[in-house]
Structure formats: C-alpha cells, structure tokens
C-alpha cells in the first residue's frame, strides 16, 4: 500500500487530514483494513468502490458517527490539521468532531421544521441567538448551497414541502451554515433524479474552493466529474489512491482498472 503523490495541478495544496493505519470493526467483523490516505485541503476527494466495500463506513469515521451505536471500534488514527489532533482518540469528544466536520446523507433528511430553522439548527446548537447573525448566516449558507433564490420568499415554509433535490441542497446549506472544516457527502445523489443530481454536482464543484470535501459515490462518472482525488476501495481495503485523472486514465492497480473499465463491480 502506498500513497501516490498528487498530480502536478494540485501540488500546492496543504494536507487537511491524514489517515494512518485505520481499522474499523462492527463487533467482531472487520469492516476497514489498514487504511492510509491523505485528504487535501479545499479539494474534493471521492471514495469509490462496489457496494459493501466500506466506503461509507470509512466516511462515517471522519465525524465519528459510529460512536452512536454500540459495539463499534476504531483502531489507528485520523489526524486533523492544523491542530495535529487524532480525531479518533478517546479523549476527543465526538460532538466536537461533528461540529467541525459536517455531513450530508444519502437520503435528504431535513428536520420537520421551517426552511430557515433547518439551516439555523447548527447555529442554534452552538448557542447563536442573535436574529441578525442567524439571518445573515442562513442566507449565506443558502446562497452557497444555490438554494437562496428558490426559497428566499418562503423561509417559513415546512422543509418537507421542497422537492427532493431542494431538500438535499437544504441539507447541504444546513451543513455549510456552521463553516465546517470538512464536508462529508455520503452518496448525496443516489436518491435523486438526474436533473437534481446535476445541480448537486454543480454545487459540489462550486464549493471546492471554500471547503474540503470528501464524497462517497458509487457512480464513477460522478467521481470523475466532481473530484480532484479518488480513492478506490474494495472489501474494506484502500486499493488505490491518487489524482482523479491518474486513477481514471492510467490506474496502477489491476483491480482498479477492472472496476473503472466496468469489467467488474
């Protein structure tokens, strides 16, 4: 297992996070095996691989979602820069990790609240009470999520009334409102139609300069379209990692090539 240097176009970017020898267990079942990887700051990194390869499990390690359920175990480390802190360490509060590293899920999961309150939720949790600050941040987040124009006149409406694609962008706005250091996407378009998918992909491309993004997708074209780096996973292992161009044009590993070319997966 070796880490490939990024392609020439991205050499200037700093490391946001480094994964060292990560193992993960659901009870006695080992779901992730010895994973080493780098996440570059303000870049989009895609995790691809067949279903059940552990890519979502890997993603959910980054904000400690596994801590919510019993019998889950981490080994190894995920170092977050610039603090040089292992976020998997038992001393680190998972809540702090989640405040800094936010997540967007497979299925849009807006809360049964108004559009405004959905986006403001993360801010309210942080104790922000001033209406003017809330309004400003909510507007910013909605603009960044390319939803502002569509909803600015009905911020008080229930979020359930939005379309699927709008709901997903709302969830992205919700995650963006608190200025996360990393934004995790867990197959964010798998429950959406092609038009909504295109709008989310466009949004991710727009966001790449504002925030570090890690995205799980089982759609290889999507990975090729939106990401700067790609990691190919199989059976809980990281098979190959590198600049997206390299992975898709001349993968070094035979398994990656088979998957990319559709001979398997």
């Amino acid at each position: 297992m070796q880490i490939f240097k990024p392609s020439s176009t991205a050499t200037l970017t700093a490391q946001k996070s480094v994964v060292n020898n990560l193992n993960f267990y659901y009870g006695s079942y080992q779901a992730l095996k010895n994973i080493d990887m780098v996440v570059y700051e303000k870049q989009v990194t895609a995790l691809i691989g067949p279903s059940g390869c552990g890519k979502s499990t890997f993603l959910r390690c980054f904000n400690r979602m596994h801590d919510l359920y019993p019998h889950n175990n981490y080994e190894g480390e995920i170092i977050l820069y610039p603090d040089n802190e292992n976020i998997l360490s038992r001393e680190v509060d998972p809540i702090e990790v989640r405040m800094r590293i936010s997540m967007v899920f497979q299925k849009p999961n807006p809360f049964p609240k108004s559009i405004f309150e959905n986006v403001a939720y993360g801010l309210r949790i942080r104790g922000v009470k001033r209406r003017s600050i809330l309004e400003e941040k909510v507007e910013n987040a909605l603009r960044n999520a390319a939803l502002w124009e569509e909803v600015k006149d009905r911020l008080g409406d229930l979020a359930f009334n939005l379309s699927g694609g709008q709901q997903q962008r709302l969830c992205i706005a919700r995650a963006l409102a608190t200025d996360p250091e990393i934004l995790l996407f867990d197959e964010p378009t798998s429950a959406l139609d092609p038009i909504a998918t295109a709008s989310i992909e466009e949004l991710i491309s727009d966001l790449r300069n504002k925030v570090t993004i890690l995205i799980v997708t089982h759609n290889m074209q999507q990975a090729a379209r939106v990401s700067d780096y790609t990691a190919y996973m199989y059976m809980g292992e990281l098979i190959e990692f590198g600049a997206t161009d390299t992975i898709f044009i001349k993968p070094k590993n035979k398994k990656t090539e088979d998957y990319i070319t559709g001979r398997f997966g």
């Binding site: 610039p82 603090d83 509060d93 809540i95 702090e96 405040m99 800094r100 942080r126 104790g127 200025d179």
Partner: protein, 310 residues
Amino acid sequence: MAMNHSDNLNEIRAIIAYHKRWDLLALIAGIVALMIAVLTFIALFGNMIIDGMPRLTWEFFTSFPSRKPEAAGILSAWVGTTLIMLVTAAAAVPLGVAAGVYLEEYAPKNLITEIIEINVTNLAGVPSIIYGLLALGLFVYELGLGQSILSAGLTLALLILPIVIVATREAIRSIPVSIREGAYALGATKWQTVADHVIPYSAPGILTGVIIGLARAIGETAPIITIGALTFIAFLPPSPIQDEFPFVSFEWLMEPFTVMPIQMFNWISRPQEAFQHNAAAAGLVLVVMTLLMNGLAIYLRYRLRKKIKW
C-alpha cells in the same frame, strides 16, 4: 472563516462543555424518574407484603368472608373470579378474533369498515365504569339476567373486546402475504386459507392479547360494583360439573357472586385495621395473579419475536 482557528476551537469547546451539562442533567433526570417508578412499585408491594403476608394462610383461601376479620377468607371471591373469567373468555375470544379476522382479511376499504375501526379504538378509551352502566341497563334489567355471574362475565367481555380485536389484528398483520398466496395457489378458498393458516399461525399473538385482556378484567372493580354486586356472599355457586347426567350444569351462570377486587374493596372500606390486613392479603393475591398473567404475556411476545422470522 474570519475567526482565528484556535479561538474558534476554544469557543466550540466551551459550548460543548455547556451543552454536556444539560445532557448529563437530562440523563440523571431520566434515571431518577425511572427509579421513582421502581421505588413506588417496591413501596406498594412491600407495604402489602408487610400488612397482608401474615394473613396468607391456607384457611384464607378456603374460608368465606366473615364478620370476624381473623376468620374471613377469599373462597367465594376467587371462585367467583374464576367462573367470571370463564364467561368473559368464552364470550370475548370468539367475538374478538372473528372481528379481528374480518377487519384484517375481509373488510373492504369503505365507510363501514372505517366506522368499525374508529369505533374499536374509541371503545378502548371508554372508562370502565361506563361499561358498568351499560351492563346495569342492558344485562341486569333489559335482558333480565340480574346481578349474576353471566352479567358480570359479559360486562367484562365487552370491556376487553377492543384489546382482543387489536391483538388479533396485529398478530394477523405480521403474517406475510406469501403464506396466503401459498395456500391460494393450492386452490384453497379464502376461509380455508384463513382457518388453516392465518388463524393458527397468529394464535400465539392472539393468545398474548387474550391473556393481557383477562389480566385487565381480573382487576376491574368499578363496572362490577355498578351492576350491584357488592354483597356479602358466603356460599359457592353450584358446581359446573355434576355427578349425574348430563354431568354439566349451567345453573351457576345465574347465581350471585363476589370477585377478588370487590372483596378487597369491601375490606378496605371497613374501619377496623384487621380488615385492612385482609385487604392487603387479597390485594397481594390479586397483584400476583395479574403480574403472572401479564408476565406470561410479555414472555410469550418476547419468545414470539425471537423465534419467528418470516
């Protein structure tokens, strides 16, 4: 992110520490509330054991009520309860299961079905004393059944009917369509499918509901008082099983009676402390009976959930 990174981080940590205090507080409140429920149960049970345990002798079960507290017992009460439960089960089970089967397997989606469904949920919320008034007017006077075991059994049957219906429906609903299709594919009629497959496979679930219903009926006091059954009963109804042909008799159905909770209520209302100890002893028997029945039902349900994976 205009803010300095480490400032921002310190702020986040302060907020988390603050929220964690609330989290801890909520956790403690939850545990304390649960503990209070446990303590209440211990107090209730302990209090009855202290007062009633010395009275729980063999004679207590084999004696009739008496003016002398130390000679009084619950013979007529537990016999009455047993006979009434027979009537209740005999009436509520067929009726409730049939209604549940109809609603789950046959009922078309129409207004009448909806009325029946709303009605069943509403009946479950009608206070039990209202059933007592119904029984007083209908069974005791209109139908002339008097203040008899039959009246009381039928009253309680009406009371637990919604429980049996709901349990039947839930049990039937858990049987997958594939089982029914399997039977239809072999040429079974609807009723054959229901009688040979649906009802037998949902029997444990139905049984659980019936037990919970009967446990509820055993402890019901108000509707029985309402039909006017608070009387001094120092005799047993004629036995259902006779020595001579035809060996069974239904004479007992029309006899006056007393039941466990009524006997207990009767003793509680006496000012003498000795009678209140009798009440505690009767209460203990009653609680153990209902706990055993409910416990059995919970156990059955638990086993059912573990065993069957359709």
